[in-house]
């Protein structure tokens, strides 16, 4: 067994309440490497084709990564995978915090959950042991109350709790998994899957250690990282102001979605800047296990008479985009409350904000009225309306019951006119980066197996003139040597999108934070990643192996979708993007033409080794990656 892994995977059948431990061979660990790829191995093996995402046959996996638990920045990551109740394709979501490291300390690399419990339960893992406990007394409570109650009843104040909230219990299709009450596996509805299984929480406690093959090398890299933060400006800024540090930059290039993606610049942006958060409502900076960057926010404020508590953290850039500019809201206190409500109820802030924004556009255009909204003036720019709709969605009350289905299903109910206002790919709402400004990201939004995602490739500006030399030196290690002009889209940009997507796919497999370890601006680059993984595992891992691991995961995700009937016809951007953007700034008047996207897809599928007609992996490509066992 390679160092760093515990060698134990916990299997849970909630229907029969049976638990058992598997100890796979070392070859399995090297091939699937942890995180999302290891989870996908079980999802593909065990989930029947067309299984109900909210039924007992869906398999939910939770996996940490290879270096997770080591004393170095950016390694405490948890991947969640299952069939998505939003898209019907694969679901995939990543999170940080202390839970992922604690899972290893408790003696497990990952958990495979199947079946459906007849009654609410939680899973308690402690020092290699596992047990199911009743959660009936926790059902219906917000995350903060549940975490406190579990710690009290176990007499263990230091356990880590990963849980769904009331939204997951109510099967809101974009419900999240929350740990520490403020870290989210937010995307693709993994909270609804866990809620359908009546698994309220996974609680971990452990005194074990994760041992690296070369601990001195890990210590050396951590020390170098601490020194380098000052010399790595983008990471320094991330630490100072959190992910919200990029609000102003995003706005300047017309990439800040505004009024449901009708505009790319927001007139109220000055109220939403990361610097503003730091100088007003920020109480402290927080971190994930052993991370020196400290990008997480802890805020304290109030809005509309409701207190925003430090327990629930603070808003990320994506939350500011979705609840702020997307909805035309220029009130940071309201955004902070929206962030808190999503963490309390267990909701994905991106999908939730985007769905409210969609409903706002429907309201502005007469497809919804005050009767539908229960008297809420659901207009752009109304912060109280955002807060009210989050409450309705989490409880599935009034219009919230429809919006809890996600904007794509809501549009189908509201009629053909509503489709014009939809901003989804594969029924999954778009993050807050406008593809008119980041065109290669638009391609990734379209082709990504689990819907539009902003953390599945490097963004365009890192491969454009004007960037720092360190970006270009690192990207050259992936074979990217032709820096492009700002704002352009070329076949070379498609290559950039594909290769960086494969690299990011490896990060989500090995369990590495993409703000600390990455291909360009991050604290550590590709060479350091290879060094880390080698020192951690004792295997000699080079960049070629990292890319192979990344490609393997990407093909597994795509193969799952192929089994469910997805094709290149599903790799499309919202129809709205074929109409000219409104407003001011560099993207005003811009379109993302569907015909252009079809060309980029041709180039992309060729690079991926996929069938250009179906857009799916070929048998030969799967065999190259050791995935011949997947039947399409």
């Amino acid at each position: 067994m390679a160092r760093c892994f515990t060698g134990s995977i916990l299997h849970v059948d909630l229907s029969s309440a049976k638990l058992w431990i598997e100890n796979p061979p070392e070859s399995f660990y090297r091939t699937y490497a942890g995180g999302s790829a290891m989870g996908m191995y079980y999802v593909l093996k065990e989930t029947p084709v067309h299984a109900d995402p909210l039924g007992p046959d869906n398999t939910l996996t939770l996996f940490a990564g290879l270096p997770t638990g080591l004393p170095i920045a950016g390694q405490s990551r948890l991947a969640a995978n299952a069939r998505s109740p939003l898209s019907g394709g694969i679901g995939d979501s990543q999170s940080g915090g202390f839970f992922p490291a604690a899972l290893k300390f408790a003696g497990f690399d990952g958990i495979v959950v199947r079946g459906q419990s007849p009654r609410p339960v939680y899973l308690y893992l402690h020092d290699g042991q596992a047990e199911l406990r009743s959660a009936e007394h926790l059902w219906g409570k917000v995350t903060g109350d549940v975490e406190a109650q579990i710690k009290e009843e176990l007499h263990e104040p230091k356990v880590e709790v990963l849980q769904i909230g009331p939204a997951g219990e109510k099967l809101v299709r974009f419900a999240a998994l929350i740990n520490m009450c403020n870290r989210a596996n937010g995307r693709t509805g993994m909270g609804a899957v866990m809620g359908a299984k009546r698994l309220r929480a996974v609680v971990v406690k452990g005194s074990g250690k994760v041992a690296a093959a070369d601990p001195a090398a890990i210590t050396r890299m951590q020390r170098e990282g601490v020194k380098n933060i000052e010399n790595t400006p983008d990471v320094k800024g991330l630490g100072l102001n959190g992910t919200a540090d990029v609000v102003g930059f995003q706005n300047s290039i017309g990439s800040l979605p505004t009024y449901n993606y009708n505009q790319g610049q927001f007139s109220g942006v000055d109220q939403l800047m990361g610097d503003v958060m730091s100088s007003t409502i920020l109480k402290e900076r927080d971190t994930c296990y052993s991370c020196t960057v400290r990008c997480k926010r802890v805020v304290e404020t109030e809005f509309g008479g409701q207190k925003v508590l430090p327990l629930y953290g603070g808003p990320e850039y994506e939350t500011i985009g979705a609840m702020g500019s997307y909805c035309g809201v220029a009130d940071l206190n309201a955004v902070a409350l929206a962030s808190q409500l999503c963490n309390m109820y267990g909701l994905d802030t991106i999908a939730c904000g985007a769905t409210i924004s969609f409903a706002m556009e429907c309201f502005e255009n007469g497809l919804l009225d005050l009767h539908d909204t229960g008297g809420v003036e659901l207009r752009f720019g109304n912060p109280a309306a955002v807060v009210a709709m989050i409450e309705q969605i989490a409880r599935r009350e009034g219009l919230g019951d429809l919006l809890a289905e996600g904007s794509a299903r809501a549009a189908e109910k509201l009629g053909p006119a509503a489709l014009d206002y939809l901003v989804t790919v594969k029924k999954t709402e778009l993050p807050a980066h406008n593809p008119h400004a980041k065109k290669s990201l638009g391609l990734i939004y379209a082709v990504n197996p689990f819907g539009a995602d902003h953390q599945s490739s490097e963004h365009d500006p890192m491969y454009e003139e004007g960037g720092a030399q360190v970006y270009f030196d690192r990207l050259a290690l992936l074979g990217l040597n032709e820096v492009q002009a700002p704002g352009t889209m070329t076949d070379e940009k498609v290559r950039f999108a594909y290769l960086s997507e494969v690299f990011y796919s490896a990060l989500d497999t090995y369990g590495l934070c993409q703000f600390v370890w990455g291909p360009s601006w991050q604290l550590y680059g590709p060479s350091e990643i290879a060094a880390l993984l080698s020192a951690a595992s004792g295997w000699q891992i080079d960049i070629a192996e990292i890319m192979q691991v990344g490609a393997r995961r990407l093909n597994m995700l795509r193969a799952f979708n192929a089994r469910e009937g997805f094709t290149r016809a599903d790799d499309v951007l919202p129809g709205k993007f074929s109409r000219a953007m409104q407003g001011e700034g560099p993207t005003a008047g811009a379109v993302y033409a569907a015909a252009d996207l079809e060309h980029y897809k041709d180039v992309y599928y060729r690079l991926a080794g996929w069938d250009p007609d179906s857009g799916n992996p070929t048998s030969a490509r799967l065999a190259e990656l050791g995935l011949e066992w997947i039947t399409l």
Binding site: D234, K236, G237, D245, V246, Q250, N251, S252, G467
Partner: protein, 77 residues
């Protein structure tokens, strides 16, 4: 001519703390944007905008009353 400059993120360290990252610069008519980066000793591997629009050309001629904002790059998330 007077040019308003607003710095964000770690770039604020290039101005006194009590300025909150803001400065009004008196520059000769016809000055290029690059002059601001020289005067404030700002790195050039950053993102910057004039009157709200991203720019890349440091030879861009500024005009009286222009507002220049300088940001760090990065992807967000």
């Amino acid at each position: 001519m007077r040019i308003r400059v607003i710095l964000y993120s770690y770039l604020r360290e290039n101005l006194p703390a009590d300025t909150n990252g803001r400065a009004e610069l008196d520059l000769p008519e016809g000055s290029p944007a690059g002059l601001i980066f020289e005067q404030l000793r700002l790195p050039r591997q950053v993102a910057w905008a004039v009157n709200g629009e991203a720019q890349h050309n440091f030879h861009l001629i500024l005009h009286d009353g222009d507002e220049v904002r300088v940001f760090r790059q990065g992807a967000g998330g």
